[in-house]
């Protein structure tokens, strides 16, 4: 309620009166936005902004960006370095917002936004996620989170039940299990069903392996790329490179156990294995989801969108879906946080994706932009996005709200998502991260593909990461 009724400067003119809008004085804020969201829900999102305090004198125009996040980043980079004034706002991937901050290309919001809005972000938002929109050197805020993305381990509840497990009573949804337990369950269910795959995940040579799947597994083993959590965002060159550590190698060997049932002199003999196809080596999100959605896999690691899609009622959609048979659990772990070799790792770990809104420093209408941000920060708006777009609210408390739970499909998994959200591991975005991802992904892929022993792959990675870290 405190958002309604004009902000600071604009109070006189805009009070939601339609008369003003038609006087031609309306300012238009251009917002570089997700193309699919614009296409499917553009008007509804706009309407929701206006419903949540955006005066009618401010028009929002969504400018769809490129679907490919890398291309979008390149595009925004060009626009900003050419001094373009449009769009006024962007949606930026938390994977590269940092680069824009480092280059000083986007508006420092600590300077631009009023204190109350800043403190809302400070206090009410997922802090690990918000951190990816801050300058690590001084903590200044450059972007306001719009939605975070946390992966979960998704599975066929029906198959689990058939195999004699009881996810409900065993509290799979919120109680992370160890990889050892999980792998035995997975192998067991796999053996007892006629599905082709026990576990589908993503292990292609692409940024997702570096930022997310490998990062998760490694982290859950207590490993990290650059020492502990405090080194995630630098300082480049001064932090250690820790990929040739045993915990990292073990995490890879565990993946090899899952895929090839290789047991490394008995080290993984009490793990289940051989239930994961080599296909994961070429899989990104969608190819790995397809067999799962068809009911052809027991477990599947993916983002919330997968829950939204696979959780649909098969009766109501042409696409394959699992409906209520879809279950979700936090990603398993190998060592608890307390035993983690690298500080801040261990336990269940969810990679962190998501998008922030940032501001074009060349924009000529920052007041209006501020009003848009204000409206977009309202809880109602965030819940609306969850409802219509499946975008998670950036505030932990909203996860628990009844409204969130009432959202169709995704509402069923809010608890699991909250656990994931509490245990995120952001990618180590720095100026050199862009050079590191492909090297990490390639070596992780080679190791799990049995092309080289994990030790060797990680040794190579250690060297090349060191190279990228040196100036």
């Amino acid at each position: 309620a405190d958002f309604v009724g004009g902000g600071d400067g604009g109070g006189g003119t805009g009070n939601g009166s339609t008369g003003d809008g038609s006087s031609g004085q309306a300012t238009t804020v251009q917002w570089g936005f997700d193309p699919v969201a614009v296409q499917n829900n553009g008007p509804a999102i706009k309407q929701s902004l206006h419903d949540n305090g955006l005066p009618d004198s401010v028009e929002v125009e969504f400018v769809p960006r490129d679907q490919d996040t890398g291309k979008a980043r390149a595009n925004y980079n060009r626009l900003l370095s050419a001094g373009e004034t449009d769009p006024d706002m962007f949606l930026m991937d938390n994977g590269w917002t940092n680069i824009f901050i480092q280059r000083g290309q986007i508006q420092n919001l600590t300077e631009m936004l009023p204190e109350e809005m800043l403190s809302t972000v400070d206090n009410k938002y997922f802090s690990a996620f918000t951190d990816t929109a801050r300058n690590p050197q001084n903590g200044n805020l450059y972007g306001v989170p719009v939605f975070p993305d946390f992966p979960t381990m998704q599975y066929r509840k029906d198959l689990a039940n058939e195999a004699g497990y009881n996810p409900e009573s065993e509290n799979w949804a919120t109680e992370p299990m160890t990889w050892k337990k999980w792998s035995n369950i997975a192998a067991d269910i796999y053996d007892n069903s006629d599905v082709d795959f026990g576990f589908t995940t993503q292990w292609d040579i692409y940024v997702g392996t570096a930022c997310c799947t490998f990062n998760e597994v490694m982290s859950s083993w207590g490993g990290a790329y650059f020492g502990g959590r405090e080194n995630l965002f630098g300082p480049v060159g001064e932090r250690p490179v820790t990929v040739n550590q045993p915990e990292v190698i073990n995490s890879l060997n565990m993946m090899r156990k899952f895929v090839h049932d290789e047991d490394f002199g008995g080290e993984f003999s009490d793990y289940g294995g051989g239930f994961t196809p080599t296909n994961i080596l070429g899989w990104t999100e969608e190819p790995s989801r397809a067999p799962f959605a068809e009911g052809n896999s027991v477990f599947h690691r993916n983002w919330p969108y997968s829950l939204a899609l696979c959780g649909r009622d098969p009766e109501e959609t042409d696409a394959p879906a699992l409906g209520e048979d879809l279950g979700a659990m936090p990603i398993p772990y190998a060592v608890p946080e307390s035993e983690a070799a690298q500080p801040g790792t261990g336990g269940t770990t969810a990679a962190l994706g998501g998008w922030h809104m940032t501001v074009n420093p060349n924009s000529g209408q920052k007041d209006a932009v501020q009003q848009v941000i204000r409206a977009a920060m309202t809880e109602k708006f965030q819940l609306k996005l969850l409802e219509i777009q499946g975008w998670l609210p950036p505030r932990p408390e909203l996860f628990n709200s009844q409204q969130a739970k009432d959202v169709p499909i995704l509402g069923r998994y809010m608890e699991t998502l909250r656990v994931a959200g509490d245990n995120t591991m952001p990618r180590p975005v720095t100026a050199v991260w862009g050079n590191q991802t492909s090297k990490i992904a390639q070596q992780a892929n080679r190791a799990v593909g049995q092309e080289v022993p994990s030790e060797q792959a990680m040794q190579a990675l250690q060297t090349s990461l060191k190279n990228t870290e040196s100036s």
Partner: protein, 330 residues
């Protein structure tokens, strides 16, 4: 049996060989059709695969094999050819519903036509000069033009983008001296046609040089005596006589521009039809961060390829009209 080849009971293969020796034309014909079939199959198969993808419902795309298991007379085996998993021709309509695909096509078409005209005109002048005149510096200049095409397109894009943004002055390279500020061309055809024209120019210059150079001097002489200028002879006689070359240059340029995305994805600051984003901008919008609607992309590209096929069928009428016979006695 090999010793009694004359016998009438020779096998069919042998008979065929015999008749082939007598009539090599038949062998030639057979080889010809075999080769044609081979090329048809190899070129069309991936396209058939595209069609299979287009009509397969989206949900079925990434799971399950396209090679159905067939059961023939109790022997089950894998059918060696991919067939659609399900049948959803509606994809061809969906492509227009999801995005204004026809607008993207129009954009591409307009860009391609404009570029082709500009390129043909300018390259014709250059082709005439290089193909028919001898002057100092010729080889050097030709190599200079060719050199443009050595560079990856990425080497052009940043400075051009800054110029076309029209926010900052064009500066003399290696200095900070500003010259003038170019008009803002981003999101307009200008920002695409200009780079396309210059990047696709070298190929056309070389093609036209080759073809114009082959037109006998006698015909140009005749035209000039009849009263054309040298340029008039170029456009009235040399160009029509080089129709195969001109049409080929046109088709190659047209197709290249029609399918171009690198520059257009940059010069159109967002992939919207209203910002002159081309056909690939449209096709790629069936792809989201995680999901790819391969069926729609396939359907859209089939739709997008159609105008080109029509163009090629029309243009090849030109390409295949060998015209120089009957011109000269020499």
């Amino acid at each position: 049996m090999a010793t009694q080849t004359e016998d009438s009971d020779a096998g069919p293969l042998e008979r065929w060989t015999q008749s082939a020796i007598e009539n090599p034309e038949r062998v030639y014909r057979a080889l010809f059709y075999a080769a044609m079939l081979f090329f048809l199959v190899t070129t069309m198969f991936p396209f058939y695969w595209l069609l299979v993808l287009a009509v397969t419902p989206e949900g079925n795309l990434l799971a399950g094999s396209f090679l159905p298991t067939v059961n023939l007379f109790g022997v089950s085996g894998t059918f060696p050819l991919p067939v659609p998993k399900g049948f959803n021709p509606a994809a061809f309509i969906t492509v227009f519903e999801q995005v204004p695909f026809h607008l993207y096509m129009l954009n591409s078409f307009a860009l391609a036509v404009t570029t082709t005209i500009i390129v043909l005109f300018i390259a014709s002048l250059a082709g005439y000069v290089f193909g028919r005149l001898r002057f100092p510096g010729r080889a050097f200049l030709m190599l200079g033009i060719l050199a443009i095409s050595y560079f990856p397109p990425a080497a052009f894009v940043i400075p051009l983008f800054k110029v076309f943004a029209g926010n900052a002055p064009v500066v003399i390279p290696f200095t900070d001296i500003g010259l003038f500020t170019a008009p803002r061309l981003l999101n307009t055809p200008g920002s695409m046609v200009l780079p396309f024209s210059s990047l696709f120019m070298p190929l056309s210059v070389f093609i036209l040089t080759t073809f114009y150079g082959q037109i006998p001097d006698g015909l140009e002489d005749a035209a000039r005596v009849e009263g054309t200028t040298r340029l008039g002879a170029l456009f009235r006689v040399i160009m029509p006589l080089s129709a195969p070359g001109v049409a080929t240059a046109a088709v190659l340029t047209f197709i290249a521009v029609y399918n171009e995305y690198f520059f257009s994805s940059i010069m159109a600051t967002s992939p919207e039809a209203t910002k002159w984003s081309p056909i690939l901008g449209g096709i790629l919008s069936y792809q989201t961060q995680y999901t790819t609607q391969y069926n729609l992309m396939a359907a859209a590209s089939i739709v997008g390829v159609l105008p080109v096929v029509i163009l090629v069928v029309v243009a090849q009428e030109r390409i295949v009209s060998g015209l120089t016979s009957g011109a000269l006695k020499e």
